[in-house]
């Protein structure tokens, strides 16, 4: 058996901490590569982690207009959901649908974070979160398409299928593209990042600073790690198996994402929805062709 039978808390906690640090470094690398492409020196790689820790010692002030327990609880929910996703995905190799659920709850949390503060900017961000959810939902049809191919949605089962039959990337390339767009839309500064676009100050994050922002950034780092992990597992599971290979692959994908983010402008909300729909339809076409 691959993992020890007794998963104790220390084991899982260490995995989560590793994912946190590695994800933070990846996001730092993302910013660095973007800066180099645009001809700037860029921040140090550790900058994103530093930001997260920095917010821990900054003063937290809660707006007078906010709806109170929700304002804090929804940010904690965002964190909790990705911890669950990490436990189900990389550690237990459980059902992919649970990770899809985590993604859906992440969307709900974005919406709630925006609504709870009472500021018009965050409200706009949360409206865009609803709008972009409708675009990303078709992409989440990816699990269905993968299921028709592999007859299982357990991540361990998908890995086993790929070890026997070769990577899904070669069998369902357009579905992989759709999933890649899904990962891209969760990357900071991405063309589809309409939720936190700078045209609406910072989108749903505008009113969140201090400790709460630190917690939120933790959740985002874990989300980035978990989504990258899922992408690699589902489409390259036959080739990439060892943890070190996973890390190298994640770094590679981050560099590709940074290239895309640096070279594309942010698209308008309705265009973002439209483009993501096109990729989802392409994925369905791929399945119909096979």
């Amino acid at each position: 058996m691959y993992y020890p039978v007794n998963f104790n808390l220390i084991y899982i906690l260490l995995e989560i901490i590793t994912a946190f640090i590695f994800g933070g470094l990846l996001l730092g690398l993302h910013r660095k590569v973007m800066a180099r492409i645009q001809g700037r020196p860029g921040p140090p790689i550790v900058q994103h982690l530093l930001h997260t820790f920095k917010f821990y010692i900054k003063e937290l002030s809660i707006p007078n207009t906010s709806s109170m327990p929700l304002y804090v609880a929804i940010v904690l929910a965002m964190d909790a959901v990705w911890i669950l996703a990490l436990i189900v995905g990389p550690i237990l190799g459980g059902s992919f649908l649970i990770i899809i659920m985590c993604y859906a709850v992440h969307k709900v949390a974005e919406h709630g974070i925006g609504l709870a503060s009472g500021s018009p900017y965050t409200k706009l961000g949360s409206t865009r979160a609803v709008l972009s959810a409708t675009a990303e939902m078709p992409l989440i049809a990816v699990p269905a398409l993968v299921f028709f191919k592999t007859d299982t949605l357990l991540l361990d089962g998908i890995i086993n299928y790929q070890i026997v039959n070769g990577s899904l990337f070669t069998q369902l390339p357009l579905v992989a593209l759709a999933m890649f767009v899904l990962v891209l839309s969760k990357t900071p500064y991405s063309p589809f990042g309409i939720v936190w676009g700078k045209d609406i100050v910072s989108g749903y994050k505008t009113e969140h600073f201090g400790v709460i922002r630190g917690v939120m950034m933790m959740g985002e780092i874990l989300a980035f790690f978990a989504l990258l992990w899922c992408f690699i597992t589902i489409f390259f599971g036959g080739i990439i198996t060892a943890p070190l290979a996973y890390m190298v692959a994640m770094t590679g994908i981050t560099v590709i994402l940074a290239f895309i983010c640096a070279l594309t402008p942010m698209v308008a909300p309705y265009h973002a929805v439209m483009i993501q729909w096109i990729f989802a339809i392409l994925a369905v076409v791929n399945v119909l062709l096979i």
Partner: protein, 92 residues
């Protein structure tokens, strides 16, 4: 075999970058000027590259020091260090 086998690598790399950031700002408080290769970071990078073969976390600490230096500084040094480590890894 799990992901946290690489926790010491990551933690030491992060600490290395932090120290590098702090110390390089002590070294260079002037506005950014394009620099040639400096001796001290080069030596540190070479040490790091050499240590990568024997004990990777410690090597990452030294290489991280050079990578994490103030933006714009320590680029060539870190590239040389990584190349040195690669050459060692291929030859040994």
């Amino acid at each position: 075999m799990a992901y946290f086998d690489y926790l010491p690598h990551l933690v030491l790399f992060t600490i290395g970058t932090l120290i590098g950031l702090e110390i390089s700002y002590k070294w260079h408080s002037e506005p950014f000027v394009k620099k040639k290769i400096e001796p001290v970071p080069l030596i540190l990078a070479l040490i790091g590259g050499g240590l990568m073969i024997f004990y990777a976390p410690l090597g990452l600490l030294f290489i991280g020091f050079v990578i994490g230096m103030r933006p714009g500084y320590g680029i060539y040094e870190s590239v040389i260090g990584i190349l040195f480590a690669l050459i060692l890894w291929v030859t040994l």
